[in-house]
Symmetry: C2
């Protein structure tokens, strides 16, 4: 297992961690500059931020900073109420793959979607099995497109509390079942993003990480689970402030041969009130001590 | 599958559903009277409510109302930081079994506990495997005591969002693994309480309900999952107001031979602002139409 105590060369910053400050959306160039100031070697930007800043401009800026992309956030949202919606999702996911290629991302992260309309508070139906079948078909179709462009797809199982509105793939086992079905050859075209916030509770976690193996472990996201957690979406904790034994899980992942970045992704009303410099200094400190 | 549209003879009310009104804790006798007014044949009371009202008094009152107990809430909380804490949990759980016997409950529901101290916001450690091993040992010891008194124990897997502070048994599969390990004979001494709020998202739900079979299915709890959910604990929905396909899951449970009560358990700041009569009338209506 790698020793992170001496530096932060394997720390990546998911740009959502710096997305807001006191309620004001922060432009991606500002976020990238802040990361560069702190010697961050890798980031994982969100699509809406990239679109706002311009794709070509962002690609140039990332190259100028000498940064890598530990992932690109995100494709997915494969479910829909009708054929037109499914086509729209397909086309949008293809664009996401193209963007990930231009940005030379390590993978495109997939948050697969759930009951259509639920995120807006009005689920069109309650058929989780149908949603899961649309997700399967959506990934299968996108995989062909992405494989031809050598862009790995990373299915991110989301915590079961998001099963209704964000992602109906909710355990690592379920994600790996999909991988095995759609990509039996295991050549790295399809795998998983293991975000500890979503999977830390799973009694089968170590077993499924071992099952995934190096070929399927495409990304590792870290933050912490606070007690109490006061908001289902935006109350993630800084590493070390919660109950997740992050180092133990990183050990399991690295035992499989994973040697990539540890990507910090913290959605938090609390942290979004602090300055970029304070957040990044804390991330670096905790990366050394608690990751 | 039973037809509930014509009446509510199989509706049970978990007394937490009526526990508060506009911030004021409601005494159990008041709750039982309200249930009796609405022709409710079964309830599942909480221990603190029973203690406040008096055990013997509650047993008499329940008999006078001609009510059954679909369960008794709750035993569990098996984890602790030291031997004294474990002994205390053991003794308290034995008392819970004794009370369940006096109240002639169908089963004692077990919310097994998680990281000690986490519920108070300060977890003593992050070792979920240790907590799970204490839970296993606690159930094993209690099972001997409960079996001798013919009181079935129902392990309730709780939603993974409670894994840190309330229960580290988080899927039906995990609960059934425990059942199979501790009670291989499957004579009804140990089983599960299936609360749809906790398990509805699980991709293995129908498979694990089939695995449980009649002997392990000791209780069925219903409410609904709202989108959005604004509070991790007290924002449960009334049946029909959320995204859970309750009837489908009840069908799976009844296909195994389950023929017990459908117990409504709604922790909700919203519903606790309404009158008992309004809540109960709504429960009865939704029991007929959405359960």
């Amino acid at each position: 297992m790698r020793d992170f105590s001496g530096g932060h060369e394997w720390l990546s910053i998911n740009t959502a961690t710096l997305r807001r400050q006191n309620g004001v959306e922060q432009p991606l160039p500002v976020i990238l500059d802040a990361c560069a100031r702190h010697g961050i070697r890798a980031v994982s930007p969100w699509r809406d931020q990239v679109h706002a800043a311009g794709l070509a401009q962002t690609a140039r800026s990332i190259r100028a900073h000498g940064m890598a992309l530990s992932g690109y956030c995100r494709g997915g949202m494969f479910t829909a109420v009708d054929a037109a919606g499914l086509r729209e999702a397909r086309d949008d996911n293809r664009r996401a793959v193209d963007e990930a290629c231009e940005l030379q991302a390590a993978c495109l992260v997939l948050v697969v979607g759930a009951l259509p309309g639920a995120l807006q508070g009005r689920a069109a139906h309650k058929d989780l099995a149908l949603a899961r079948s649309q997700v399967r078909d959506g990934i299968a179709a996108l995989l062909e497109y992405a494989r031809a462009r050598a862009m790995p797809l990373a299915i991110e199982p989301l915590h079961p509390m998001y099963a209704a509105d964000r992602a109906c793939v909710n355990t690592l086992e379920q994600a790996l079942d999909l991988c095995d079905e759609l990509d039996p050859v295991q050549a790295g075209a399809l795998g998983v993003a293991v975000d500890l916030y979503h999977v830390w509770w799973d009694p089968k976690l170590s077993e499924q990480i071992a099952r995934a193996g190096k070929q399927r472990l495409l990304a590792l996201h870290v933050c912490d689970w606070l007690t109490p957690t006061t908001d289902l979406l935006n109350d993630r904790g800084m590493m070390g402030d919660g109950v997740i034994d992050i180092r133990e899980v990183r050990g399991w992942v690295e035992a499989q041969g994973f040697a990539g970045y540890s990507e910090v992704e913290i959605f938090s009303h609390r942290w979004w009130q602090r300055s970029h410099d304070e957040i990044l200094a804390t991330c670096i400190d905790r990366h050394r001590r608690s990751v």
